[in-house]
């Protein structure tokens, strides 16, 4: 192959999936000349797995991305077929927004946004080499074009050495029939990156008109639609009329699966990659939970202009013919036609323990990783990392300080900290159980947590920031009003009695009424006659702040303690064997992972509380580099 010098960029992003897109948008918007490579322009922002965005913890991530000035939420608000707030009634910390997306429309908007964003160039090319130069990086395309960049962000998803497995059949492939990136892996290894092999999978796609939907249980969206983007707060996003359908497997389905288990590549050993526990294939579920008489499936629309539907819960790597047989056993599916066969896919990805919390590779300045390439799973997890990698690559170009989010600030921070501190042995998915600050990190207050930072970085406009400040000024004013609005016991006796709430012994404030679990803001309108008209987003904050004040306060105190150690920064070049008093195991782990802060060090397995104290004292003696939040 003859190489030629093609162009020079500030930042090159490899892969235009959800991670690559956010990375490229952030970098370009922060003023960096950015090129975004994709192996196929028709796969920009693709959703090769499920056609939905959000869900538990993932919805939180989308909100956080939006609060920082990312793109995902805004586009999701334009393309939803169905929108639901999951977990209503289970508490604000776990409310989770999820939409079914019009997949093509999402791709079109993302692609067009990339085409029209200043400083951003979108280019179809397979990247086959990555080389370190004196001043930065060179990347080489399949056709020999050499692009120079100060920073490179790898966001190659499941393309690296991708291999699809269906039953006995296996062949090299990227997701959704795209061709795989077969040459880059070797070059990354040669560079010195440690790679892992992961596996994931997707269920079959079914032709809508071949299913008797009358035998299925429809599921509807919510009204009014809650937007993902804080920019759309209070706006009408249009109708929410498309249905999903609920259907169950039965004994017959399970019999077909059991009879064909020997043909599953998982059980025959054909699959080497490590799959995620939370995306079990249907054969996995049947084997592991043999006593369950049925498993729940959802048939979900994939677009306004297509009859192709996604059968959530039916992931499989059984042979195609078995998939057909399994499918026919479902009620309403006796004539169902598969449009795309379910498959498992294996791919190469980087061990995230090589990354700094900025998502830059510790040993390779200017090289960043994001998304599935870093060992995660999910569009939202990918987009979140892309955004942070993009911001940091841009800051690096501009000579500005790198941005890291700590665990107490966000799910994004928790995700990245888990990845770079603990690593992962399966594709990492965000769950609310991963956060110890769940009551603080709610999807409703992502703006309060992150928009000031997004503004400071430069991804939030003056206008949006002003609106944000006005919103929280109103919240503060209304909280004050509730504290100073009093009722006599007689004024509220009927209301309290109707909700089985204890009568007020003496005068009671509106705030105290709101603190009672059985009462809420809307209900109290009956007695609170002079209340101002306020947007729902404002009253929601007021209500949560009051009702959960005790819990929020406690977690705030915990977070404050936690941050003390997070802001004790450790020097990147410290040789831990020279630190007196550290145990040998701790020295080795610390030398390998080179934590950014004492806080991060404390979460590394093998580093004891005593080691942490030793580090603190060492710091006091030698550096005293304390950054303030």
């Amino acid at each position: 192959m003859t190489e030629y010098s093609a162009a020079t960029w500030d930042i090159a992003v490899v892969g235009a999936g959800h991670a690559g897109l956010e990375a490229a948008f952030a970098a370009a918007r922060l003023g960096c000349q950015t090129v975004l490579f994709t192996i196929n322009l028709d796969a920009v922002g693709n959703m090769p797995c499920n056609p939905s965005i959000g869900g538990t913890a993932k919805g939180h991530l989308v909100r956080e991305i939006d609060a920082l000035g990312g793109e995902m939420g805004k586009v999701a608000d334009r393309v939803f077929l169905q929108s639901r707030m999951l977990n209503r009634g289970k508490g604000p910390a776990v409310h989770s927004l999820r939409i079914q997306a019009d997949r093509r429309k999402y791709q079109d908007i993302m692609k067009h946004t990339a085409e029209t964003t200043p400083n951003l160039s979108l280019r179809q090319a397979e990247i086959v080499d990555l080389r370190k130069t004196k001043i930065g990086w060179e990347i080489v395309t399949r056709l020999g074009a050499v692009h120079r960049a100060k920073s490179v962000i790898l966001a190659c998803g499941t393309y690296l050495q991708g291999r699809i497995i269906v039953g006995d059949e296996t062949y090299p492939s990227g997701p959704d029939g795209m061709f795989p990136a077969t040459l880059l892996t070797e070059r990354l290894r040669a560079l010195g990156l440690e790679l892992m092999r992961f596996k994931t999978g997707t269920p079959p796609r079914i032709l809508r008109t071949s299913v008797d939907l009358s035998q299925l249980e429809p599921q509807y969206g919510d009204t009014p639609v809650v937007p993902f983007s804080f920019e759309n707060e209070g706006r009408d996003l249009g109708p929410n009329t498309r249905e999903c359908y609920l259907v169950y497997t039965n004994e017959e389905t399970h019999r077909v699966i059991r009879e064909n288990l020997h043909r599953s590549p998982l059980y025959s050993g054909k699959i080497e990659g490590i799959g995620p526990r939370y995306c079990p294939s249907i054969e996995d579920k049947v084997v592991r939970f043999a006593d369950k008489p049925r498993h729940q499936l959802f048939l979900e629309p994939m677009g306004e202009t297509t009859d192709e539907m996604y059968l959530q819960g039916f992931s499989s790597s059984l042979p195609e013919e078995v998939q057909e047989k399994m499918l026919r056993t479902l009620p309403g599916f006796s004539h169902a036609r598969i449009m795309r066969t379910a498959y498992a896919i294996e791919y190469d990805c980087a061990d995230p323990l090589q990354l700094l919390p900025t998502l830059e590779f510790r040993e390779f300045p200017g090289l960043y990783g994001a998304g599935q390439f870093n060992g995660t799973s999910g569009y939202e997890e990918a987009a979140a990392q892309g955004l942070i990698a993009g911001i940091n690559a841009a800051h690096r170009c501009r000579g500005k300080q790198q941005v890291t989010l700590d665990r107490s600030s966000s799910y994004i921070g928790t995700l990245i900290d888990d990845l770079v501190t603990k690593g992962t042995r399966e594709p990492y998915r965000m769950m609310t159980s991963r956060s110890e600050y769940r009551l603080l990190l709610r999807q409703d207050n992502a703006d309060a947590r992150l928009t000031p930072l997004g503004y400071e970085i430069g991804l939030i406009s003056e206008e949006r920031y002003a609106r944000f400040r006005e919103k929280y000024r109103q919240v503060e004013t209304e909280i004050q009003r509730t504290e100073h609005t009093w009722f006599s016991p007689e004024q509220v006796s009927n209301l309290l009695a109707s909700r089985n709430s204890a009568p007020a012994a003496s005068g009671i404030s509106l705030a105290d009424l709101l603190r009672r679990p059985e009462l809420d803001y809307a209900l109290l309108a009956e007695v609170d006659k002079d209340r101002p008209f306020l947007p729902a987003a404002v009253t929601e904050q007021v209500e949560i702040s009051l009702k959960y004040a005790g819990y929020i306060q406690r977690q705030l105190r915990q977070a404050e303690q936690f941050r003390k150690l997070e802001y004790k920064k450790l020097p990147a070049d410290l040789d831990y064997t020279t630190v007196q008093g550290l145990r040998i195991e701790a020295q080795q782990k610390l030398n390998k992972l080179r934590p950014a802060s004492v806080g991060q060090a404390s979460r590394i397995s093998g580093v004891s509380p005593a080691d942490v104290t030793v580090l603190l004292i060492w710091l006091g003696q030698h550096h005293s580099q304390e950054e303030k939040p």
């Binding site: 289970k90 604000p92 159980s433 679990p517 007196q580 004292i617």
Partner: protein, 450 residues
């Protein structure tokens, strides 16, 4: 993680004064819960303050104390600090420490006050280096100790609590984390039962704690009685050597005298006291007052009376007035002179023994009694919780679950927060991290995910 810490700042040995030091963001809060002030208050509006009050355990007064408080940053550690000067009885100090932990403080790790002081810029490097050495040396010992501790019954019991907590949390978390999967809501009654189950397991283990302490630190035992009944002779007989000055002039012992002995394996912290009677002598009266104070704190009272003399109404009244919380053994002394008493003269006595402090008669019989009376409820399997750190972690777990019980009408997200706090507290003992445990548990228990 609780960052308000408490520890004994003076040696754990009998002394005139013992100082407990509380430090951290909630030091004042904890102090206010545990103390009742007679005069003065905490340094909430000024850099430092001195106050006088009582350390309370519920309605019970543990001790009269002097309270010095320092508002951050005007303290040794640089954080809000409260120093409580108690009387220097190890058993009392231990109780006081437990009380402060129950009020929300956490037992300080070795060197932790100094660490805080260093972190807040209150110490110079030389001092800090000393702490580093101390901690480095300590970590191996602590690791060895922890390993030894984790073997055996206690570890099994903690494991059971851990499992019970997981059974509480996992379904709740699966229910919120997997709304699409068929995971039903846990009915409120079921949730209550599981909470109560966890709580009762924790409380049971906590209850075994006082026995553990009793064995380790001894029983507060007071020798009391009318003047010249032979209390000091009994004490001396028990100790095996002459400590008190024994005379036959009533009222010789004006102060309280303390000693530790072991009877049938149980450690008794003996306090010999001035005889109880009405007196005009001012110094003697002070002694009598101290006796009463000692009795108020006693777990075991050895009531010594002159068996050779008849019961007087004053003596009957004094005996009846003994604190009801303590176990009482009546020693009918001077058996060598003949016994003229009836057992029914001592209502409320747990045992009556005829002894002679002069000849030593009856002391064999006495020897086994304290253990029988005080350790009559060994926990199942005989395992005992005897480590303060374990105790305080369990206290935190209990506190979190108590909060959950109280807030059952709140949404599942906050119940989870409480449950996880409890699991985290137990995790500090078992070394398991909360998040990974729960995630693993959910995947093994529920068929979730798409």
């Amino acid at each position: 993680m609780n960052h308000t810490i408490v520890a004994l700042a003076t040696p754990f040995a009998p002394s005139a004064i013992g100082v407990l030091r509380l430090s951290g963001p909630e030091a004042f809060l904890v102090a206010k819960k545990a103390l009742h002030f007679f005069s003065g208050a905490l340094a909430e509006d000024c850099p430092r303050a001195l106050a006088y009050g009582a350390l309370m355990d519920g309605d019970r007064e543990l001790d009269r104390v002097i309270v010095a408080s320092f508002r951050a940053p005007h303290s040794y550690t640089g954080e809000d600090t409260v120093e409580i000067s108690c009387h220097g009885n190890p058993f009392l100090l231990q109780q006081a420490l437990c009380r402060l932990i129950a009020c929300g403080a956490r037992q300080a790790e070795r060197g932790e006050f100094t660490k805080q002081a260093f972190l807040n810029g209150k110490l110079d490097l030389t001092e800090a280096e000393g702490v580093a050495d101390l901690i480095a040396a300590d970590s191996q010992r602590a690791a060895d100790a922890a390993l030894a501790q984790m073997k055996g019954q206690l570890s099994a019991r903690l494991e059971e609590i851990n499992t019970a907590l997981l059974e509480l949390i996992s379904p709740l978390l699966a229910y919120v984390d997997y709304p699409d999967d068929e995971i039903g809501e846990i009915p409120p009654e079921e949730l209550s039962l599981r909470l109560e189950d966890c709580l009762s397991r924790i409380r049971k283990l906590l209850a075994s704690y006082s026995d553990g302490r009793k064995i380790r630190d001894g029983i507060a035992t007071v020798i009391a009685g009318r003047p010249n009944a032979g209390k000091s002779s009994v004490m001396n007989r028990l100790i095996g050597y002459e400590r008190s000055i024994v005379t036959d002039i009533p009222g010789t012992t004006r102060d309280t005298v303390e000693e530790t002995i072991t009877l049938s394996g149980l450690k008794l912290c003996l306090t010999d006291t001035a005889g109880l009677h009405q007196t005009d002598d001012h110094v003697e009266q002070l002694g009598v007052d101290r006796t009463r104070a000692a009795l108020a704190r006693a777990e075991l009272i050895l009531w010594v009376c002159d068996g050779a003399a008849a019961t007087t109404p004053e003596e009957a009244a004094e005996f009846a007035a003994l604190p009801s919380g303590a176990k009482k053994i009546v020693l009918l002394n001077k058996s060598d002179l003949g016994i003229f008493r009836q057992t029914k003269e001592f209502p409320g006595a747990n045992a009556i023994v005829t002894v002679s402090a002069i000849t030593g008669d009856g002391f064999d019989q006495l020897a086994s009694l304290p253990a029988r009376l005080l350790l009559d409820k060994p926990t199942e399997n005989g395992e005992l919780l005897c480590d303060l750190r374990h105790y305080q972690c369990l206290c935190r777990a209990e506190e979190a679950l108590t909060r959950a019980v109280k807030n059952q009408r709140m949404t599942p997200d906050v119940l989870l927060a409480d449950g996880e706090d409890a699991l985290a507290a137990i995790g500090e003992l078992t070394g398991k991290t909360v998040s990974e445990q729960i995630v693993t548990d959910i995947f093994s228990r529920f068929c979730v995910g798409k």
